[in-house]
């Protein structure tokens, strides 16, 4: 197997069982233990089972609290060092207006991070602004969102090699029952 460096699963907004029955089977097959070193979860697991599932995937699991998470012990936000990158992680409902990059930029400055990961909108995105990478894994279950996002299950996999990151964005196409992947690469200090 090629050396991808450290693999980081970025996943969130499962909303099971409130908004979705399950993660698509095609995804489940991909999300197996002993492949990833880190899991960064934007929250809204909502149940212990989902939490346990993530914990089985990788040795390092970081979860922040989503707006529908009841677990009081989950942090609102946190930062994690992976490779040369300081990664900020939060659910995103705390940043208003929801999904606004300018607002998120304030958060990125506050967390002093190179990459800011947030969810909540249920729309996966990888964006660069003012030297910061903003990553949104979307909802892995394609959970409903009243703002019009969702419907397309998605997650993101980061391959971190020192100062380089390859970002794979997986989207599930329900009509075709297939998984589509797009790829973005970036380096620190670009």
């Amino acid at each position: 197997m090629a050396n991808f460096g450290e693999l980081v699963l970025v996943i969130g907004d499962l909303h099971m069982p409130q908004r979705a029955a399950d993660i698509p089977a095609k995804f489940k097959k991909m999300l197996v233990p002993n492949k990833m070193q880190h899991v960064l979860c934007t929250g809204n697991l909502t149940t212990r089972e989902s939490h346990d599932m993530l914990r089985n995937l990788a040795p390092n699991v970081h979860v922040v609290r989503g707006d529908f998470d009841d677990q009081q012990n989950l942090p609102e936000q946190k930062t994690v060092m992976i490779g040369a990158f300081k990664i900020g992680l939060l659910h995103g409902h705390q940043v208003v207006p929801w999904g606004s990059l300018s607002a998120l930029a304030m958060k990125a400055r506050a967390l002093d991070c190179d990459i800011l990961i947030s969810g909540h909108t249920h729309e996966s995105a990888v964006t660069r602004k003012d030297g910061i990478w903003y990553i949104n894994p979307g909802s892995v279950t394609g959970a409903y969102s009243p703002t019009g996002g969702g419907d397309v299950p998605s997650f993101i996999l980061l391959a971190v090699q020192g100062e380089k990151v390859v970002c794979y964005c997986y989207k599930y196409n329900e009509a075709k029952d297939s998984v589509e992947v797009s790829k973005t690469e970036f380096s620190k200090g670009e």
Partner: protein, 838 residues
């Protein structure tokens, strides 16, 4: 000395003697001395006369004797090769006065005899099988015959073998094996009756179990005969075997041999003889576990059915098994209920595997159980039977999932189970339904499902409640309850009718059922229903819009058609008046769409869906205020999205009421407020007055938070409410003054947080907001505020205690300044930022 030690002693001694004799015997063989060899071989074989050893130890001894007997066999063969006719040796060994050694030697020569071709194989086999009768002692006889079976294995005149022809044919081969089988079975059975009282019975049974393979080997031999085809098996072999099985009247033997038959013979044979086999099953002793035999046969055929083969269509295997079971039930009045249920369960399993399409079979089995159960007088079933019924009802779930609900008997049988067990079955049913991935697309289907899984949906009237009490120490029960409710919740997402009207009916009906679940359940079951409703609302809205579009189009078409009609009439009139009249061109022919093809507006309006949602959330509001508040907010966004300003406002108001009336915990308040702000910013269709009212309230809430830092941050956050959208947006809302007021107020609060040293942190956060609005061109946020704030921060930051907090603040501040610096350099912002003094 214990019996075990005694055994070891006997075995050791006997084995030692065997070795001694064998040693001298081998010398005699080397000296080519037949007479001495025979006499020493007889001495060695005499050790097998012992009655002291248990079957297992006797086997050990037998193996070591056989080991040396091979040399004798080879010696005979070598004598024959050197010119001695085997018949001479064959006669000579019979001079031995002891029967056991004599017969072992006779078999040993017999093998060489057959190989030599001096006499037809069949004649020698017949002689051997006749002579071995002389050993009637069960253990010794069984082993002697095993040696015969082993020696003759490759010397039978089977079809295609080298002994076929003069040596006989397959008939001679199978008759030989069948006879040996029959005699061995008799010896084996007789072992049971070798005296002793009841206490030795168990011991005997164990000994017999140890010996069974010797008997079974004969059946293996039969199955290996090339010349035995299906006809032969059906007409001769199986009837003969079964005759022995029935006639021996022995429980162990019958059980073992029936199973053996199933295991050793090929599927094709079983298919050809199923009826005979099953008829025999009904004739077995009462203590024989017929169920395991039938199960074994059914498994065998199922595997065949699942694999490459197929059960021939003219063989009604299900009926045959069923007839057999019916007969057994008739004749065995002592069968307990659990066993009867197990039989039916096995049959049903068979039907599921071999006749996947035949739900009637499954239903039939269930029906049989139902009638047996209804005939049982006792009010409550015993534990085992309950477990059986539970098993019976669980089995079809994995393959049929929801289809079980089409089985009339299924639900009826469920009623025989106590609440607890019904709950277990229900859990499996829900799991299989989820796993099967089928959609729940009709009200009828759901009605049936809910009936079947009632124990998950509501408490039992009579018995204990399924929902554990809060103060209950039993965490496991609580976890199980949660798990079950999670399953039920997931079920909601399987409810997918393409027709929004049907979908609404489904959700309404589900709501009715879930509503009866009690406070503990609805916290789990209603939220998914809310989200399903929200999803539906968007769909209905789209349908409504589509319908309007179509109606508009249709209206336009009709108008056009009318115009053309008018024109036609005018032209006709002109033509009538003036025959010379030439129309300017042909008239367009409007084809009106088929009425039935026109999409109809939904019977259930979007508004109605929201009303439905309102009811659900309101119902759970008192018990789950925090959750309900969030659901109201979600609904508000959705309603706004569907352009229902009033409804959206109503949802917001409900959320506010909950905030005021139910949320007392400051942390919960903070979390709720954050969401309220986010929600308000996501809505864009409120009437201005309504919006003003809402944001004013929100800001007031923010200012009333318990902790100063929370107040400060929330007020800052609220500033966003006054500056929505860009100036180009049609429904933007800009109130620059209020934004500034919020930020200034926040600064003031922050200034009051010196005690907790949070003020610098807050200053930097507020600075960022100034910066945010500055960039958004809020006319009142001027460069001087930024410059001032930076100076303020510079002033305070150095006085901060060193530590984590300071590092954090410094980082954020550094980033902020770096951002300003960047903006000062960028072409398009350079001008705007140049006046800010850092």
């Amino acid at each position: 000395m214990s019996a075990q030690e005694e055994q070891i002693k006997y075995l050791t001694e006997a084995t030692k003697k065997v070795k001694e004799h064998a040693f001298y015997m081998k010398r005699a063989i080397d000296a080519n001395d037949l007479d001495t060899t025979l006499s020493l071989a007889a001495d060695m074989l005499r050790e097998l006369k012992t009655s002291l050893l248990t079957p297992r130890n006797y086997y050990e001894l037998y193996m070591s004797v056989l080991d040396s007997l091979r040399h004798v066999e080879d010696f005979f063969a070598s004598l024959n090769a050197a010119g001695t006719p085997v018949v001479e040796i064959y006669e000579k060994v019979q001079h031995c006065a002891n029967v056991v050694p004599r017969l072992y030697l006779l078999i040993a020569v017999g093998g060489v005899y057959i190989k030599s071709g001096e006499a037809p194989a069949k004649d020698i086999l017949k002689d051997l099988i006749e002579m071995v009768k002389c050993v009637q002692y069960p253990t010794r006889g069984l082993f002697l015959r095993n040696y015969l079976s082993q020696t003759s294995r490759d010397k039978l005149p089977d079809t295609g073998s080298e002994y076929e022809g003069v040596g006989g044919n397959v008939k001679d081969a199978y008759e030989f094996v069948l006879q040996n089988f029959s005699e061995m079975n008799r010896l084996w059975v007789r072992l049971q009756h070798m005296g002793g009282d009841k206490s030795t019975r168990k011991k005997r049974e164990k000994e017999r179990q140890d010996l069974k393979i010797l008997v079974g080997t004969n059946l293996v031999r039969l199955s290996q005969l090339q010349g035995v085809d299906t006809d032969c098996y059906r007409d001769v072999i199986l009837p003969e075997i079964l005759k022995n099985v029935v006639e021996c009247k022995d429980t162990i033997s019958q059980g073992y041999l029936m199973d053996c038959v199933i295991q050793v013979f090929p599927d094709e044979f079983h298919l050809a003889t199923l009826e005979t086999f099953l008829t025999t099953c009904t004739k077995l002793k009462e203590k024989v576990n017929i169920r395991t035999i039938l199960q074994s046969m059914m498994n065998r055929l199922s595997l065949f059915g699942e694999g490459e083969g197929r059960i021939p269509p003219d063989l009604d295997a299900f009926r045959l098994f069923n007839d057999c079971i019916t007969k057994i039930l008739e004749e065995r009045s002592n069968l307990d209920l659990a066993e009867i249920l197990r039989l039916q369960t096995s049959l049903m399993q068979f039907a599921l595997k071999c006749y996947p399409g035949r739900l009637d079979y499954v239903n039939y089995c269930l029906g049989m159980c139902a009638s047996v159960l209804s005939a049982t007088k006792s009010e409550s079933l015993d534990e085992t039977s309950v477990a059986e019924v539970e098993e019976l009802l669980s089995i079809p779930l994995s393959s049929l999932a929801l289809q079980v609900l089409d089985l009339q008997q299924y639900s009826e049988l469920l009623t025989y189970l106590p609440y607890e067990n019904r709950r277990q079955v229900a859990t499996i049913l829900v799991r299989s339904t989820l796993f099967s991935g089928g959609s729940l697309d009709s009200v009828e289907k759901l009605e049936k499902l809910f009936k079947a899984i009632t124990p998950l949906i509501k408490d039992d009237e009579k018995e204990s409640s399924g929902a554990p009490e809060k103060d209950e120490a039993d965490e496991a029960a609580l976890a199980e309850f949660k798990e079950e409710q999670t399953l039920v919740a997931r079920l909601v997402h399987m409810m997918k009718s393409p027709d929004t009207d049907v979908q609404f009916k489904i959700l309404s009906m589900t709501r009715k059922h879930f509503g009866q679940g009690g406070v503990k359940r609805i916290g789990h079951t209603l939220p998914p229903l809310v989200f399903a409703g929200l999803k539906l609302a968007h769909k209905v809205k789209k349908r409504e819009l589509d319908a309007v579009k179509v109606q508009n189009k249709l209206k336009a078409l009709k108008e056009k058609q009318e115009k053309i009609e008018q024109e036609r009439k005018e032209r006709q009139a002109k033509k009538a008046a003036d025959p010379e009249y030439e129309p300017p061109g042909p008239l367009e022919d409007i084809v009106m769409p088929d009425e039935s093809a026109i999409p109809k507006p939904p019977a259930t309006s979007c508004r109605k869906v929201f009303q439905f949602l309102h009811e659900i959330v309101t119902a759970m509001a008192v018990s789950y205020p925090d959750l309900s508040l969030k659901l109201f907010l979600q609904s508000a966004v959705a309603a706004d999205n569907c352009k229902f300003k009033a409804i959206a406002y109503e949802f917001m108001s409900q959320a506010f009421i909950l905030y005021e009336d139910e949320l007392t915990d400051s942390k919960a308040q903070l979390r709720a407020l954050v969401l309220m702000v986010g929600t308000l910013l996501s809505c864009s269709n409120f009437e201005k007055d309504d919006y003003d009212a809402l944001i004013t309230k929100t800001t007031q809430y923010a200012a009333k938070l318990l902790k100063k830092p929370d107040q400060c941050r929330m007020v800052t956050l609220c500033s966003h409410l006054f500056f929505v959208g860009s100036a180009e947006d049609a429904n933007h809302y800009h109130d620059p003054k209020r934004v500034l007021e919020c930020l200034q107020r926040a600064l003031k609060i922050a200034d009051g947080c010196m005690a907790s040293s949070a003020h610098v942190h807050l200053f930097v956060e507020i600075l960022n907001h100034y910066l945010y609005y500055f960039e958004l061109h809020n006319p009142l946020i001027a460069d001087k505020y930024l410059t001032g704030l930076i100076a303020l921060i510079n002033e305070h930051i150095d006085s901060m205690d060193h530590g984590e907090q300071r590092t954090e603040v410094e980082g954020m501040y550094r980033n902020t300044l770096r951002h300003i610096a960047r903006k000062k350099e960028e072409e398009e912002t350079k001008e705007k930022f140049k006046s800010i003094v850092v």
